[in-house]
Amino acid sequence: MSQNGHKVIGTRPIRHDGVDKVTGRAIYGADIQLTGLLHGAIKRSPHPHARIKNIDTSRAEAHPGVRAVVTAHDLPQIADKLADLGEAIVNLRDASNNVLAYGKVLYKGHAVAGVAAINLHVAQEAVELIDVEYEVLPHVTGVLEAMEDGAPILHEDMKTTSMGEETDKVSNVANHFQHKMGEPDDGFAEADVVIEREFTTQTVHQGYIETHNATAHWNEEGQLTIWTSTQGAFSVRDQMAEILQMPVSKVKIVPLEIGGGFGGKISVYLDPVAALLSRMTGHPVKMTMPRDEVFEGTGPTPGSYLKVKMGATSDGRLTAATAYMAYEAGAYPGSPVGAGAGCIFTPYDIPNVQIDGYDVCVNKPKTNAYRAPGATNAAYATETVVDEISEKLGVDPLEFRVKNGAKEGTRRADGPVHPRIGCIETTEAALNSEHYRSSLAKSGNGKVRGRGVASGYWFNFNGGRSAISVSINPDGTINMLEGSTDIGGTRASIAMQLAETIGLEATDIKPYVVDTDSIGYTDVTGGSRTTFGTGYAAHATGQALIREMKERASKLWDVPADAIDFEDGVFSYRDDAEKRGSFKELASQAGDAGGPVVAQVSTNPDGSGGGAFATHVVDVEVDRETGKVDILRYTAVQDAGTAIHPSYVEGQMQGGVVQGIGWGLNEEYIYNDAGSMTNASFLDYRMPTTLDLPMIETIIVEVPNESHPYGVRGVGEVPIVPPPAALANAIYDATGVRLRDLPMSPPRVQKALAENGG
């Protein structure tokens, strides 16, 4: 029995898919083998911006072993139309052109053709034999440069839109929006301390270890099946139907195990190409993406420019804040600037706020979601400015955050009012942590040490659509089919909620992630929604099963169903103590009273019930001579609502922290003057290794979410938000120099220290 009176929730059972994964038997997307399988490869643009004058595929087609070659001309031409696919808005023409470039290439690595051949090596040889004639155009890769008059224009027909209104100026700025609350000028006038700073961040990648893959078979009856690794099988189905202009009923997506996504495995890249190649050859076609193409040809999260101004009174009250946020969308509109704007000041209660957001196209890959998309860039700015204000006022930075913290009833800058949230509780837990109360020992090796803190917010997207289908076995165990792909242990966290509801053990539930023909529509595993949203469906499924079992018991016992109670896992008839039985006992007889017991439930809760908050504390050591920053100690504090499986909540926090550390210290797309990424490998895109980190300490705060039957709050995303700012504040504490450009890599830190005498 865990805290809060739960029997299963809050315990740490071994995950259901664990044995398959530690023995190497689990089947991931690239592991599938099919009879007659062909292998595909992609031809990509060497230029960041060019008009395609001609593509000659004849030499490739003549190469021995090649079975088919495909270009954008083989894709249906699609109108300029926005569609709501799963949780994101996508322009279908852009989505199609991103899969295979039509007319123009917009970034280095943009796919222009695909090949199917008898093996991968032959397919790669054939790719080299495709001759593409380009007219190279001027390119732009920086967000501010792309906004300037006279910048190279990516889309000649694109005009800035603004809350439904379209201007008549052709520009790389796809969208401008504004949130305004109160009168910021008045607020700044009241303030005693006003700080305004500029920040830049660079493009970073999700860095999942499994590269993208898709295996397609388009059979003679016109039925398309795709085996793939994705965060959302139904989203892939929708994208395929739209991009290939075919009925949804003709597409089946089989989601295999997925080796990480973090937001980057929602869009399709290879799937439509593999499908077309399969249709042309009559064979199944497998495509896997090499690592360099993952960096250059999928969707990283954007670089950005931010200007943040905040003011506070001498007694430590925030009075006003403004933000100018320009985010790179990449080749096509749709950066996460909107999400960033929704998060940038949200941990605080500020009466006067204005936020202006700009979504800007540049000659880089179309950006995509990455764990709390847009929020990490935003928090880097805000949390550094808050640190500076706290210092100016001479107050503890966490006490300042508690004093100004958002709580139930606080209005967000984008309008809505917070329901019950754990912002202040989380900050207080950090303030009271052993780590924060400990003193930081001096370095004995000539290096300098410092401590930093930062907070973060992520809204947790609305619950979304989830479907669950269960059948009860005679031994009382339950087969549970679900549509949420399991990236990090959600089979367990969903099964645990069903087990809790019906009084079984976690091991009594056998969860299966199934294909799109076998379960109802389920939204993507993303937005921190799965344990919340599909868990919500699991609870509803349990309720449905209890109702059905009461009906069965009423027949077996010949008593009225509404006189049967269910408590502590036991069904009992109120008026006769003999008539009682556990779920398992009843299950063995239930089939005789009305056939097999099954239930199908779908849910779509209309809100996430308030977002997730995190506060982090980090100690660093800085080598002044080289600019290298080492992490000595790290503590992450976060409100999880209710932790279903605490080990996996901790794991989400630790993983998010380490991605944030990578983003803060070293990760970036490094572009040369030719608009080409120069570090597209795991060697040079420096993600943290074991040796770069200490253990990551975690403190789980539980302020139950009132919108979920078990109080669950999504936990996956917010832990990536605070680290870069916490590191910047720690580096300042150590050196006296503030870093406002990410990543805070050794050359940048050394230069900043040399210039500022820090």
């Binding site: 994101a88 929006f177 929704g342 209309d606 809100g607």
Partner: protein, 90 residues
């Protein structure tokens, strides 16, 4: 009457007014009444010729995402916000 918070970039339609009270039992009625009082909102909010919100705009009712097809109920104390839809997922 429900309270609508007009985004700063739509206040050109309301003569600068930030908060508007509108009658209506569901979002469809609310938008019809808003259009009647301040013409132009339908064109800015709805897909042409439909009763669906444009995909790049989100409607929030009391902090919860409302459905794009405008079926959500609205009560006397409801607060309604129009926000840019969050993209970045695809």
């Amino acid at each position: 009457m429900a309270t609508i918070y007009i985004p700063s970039l739509m206040r050109d339609l309301t003569g600068g007014r930030e908060i508007i009270q509108v009658e209506g039992a569901d979002m469809r009625q609310v938008i019809a009444n808003l259009e009647a009082a301040y013409p132009g909102f339908k064109q800015r909010l709805l897909e042409e010729g439909t009763q669906r919100i444009k995909p790049n705009i989100a409607v929030m009712i009391d902090g919860r995402n409302a459905r794009r097809i405008l079926i959500d109920k609205v009560n006397e104390s409801s607060e309604i916000h129009f926000l840019p839809a969050i993209s970045g997922g695809i």
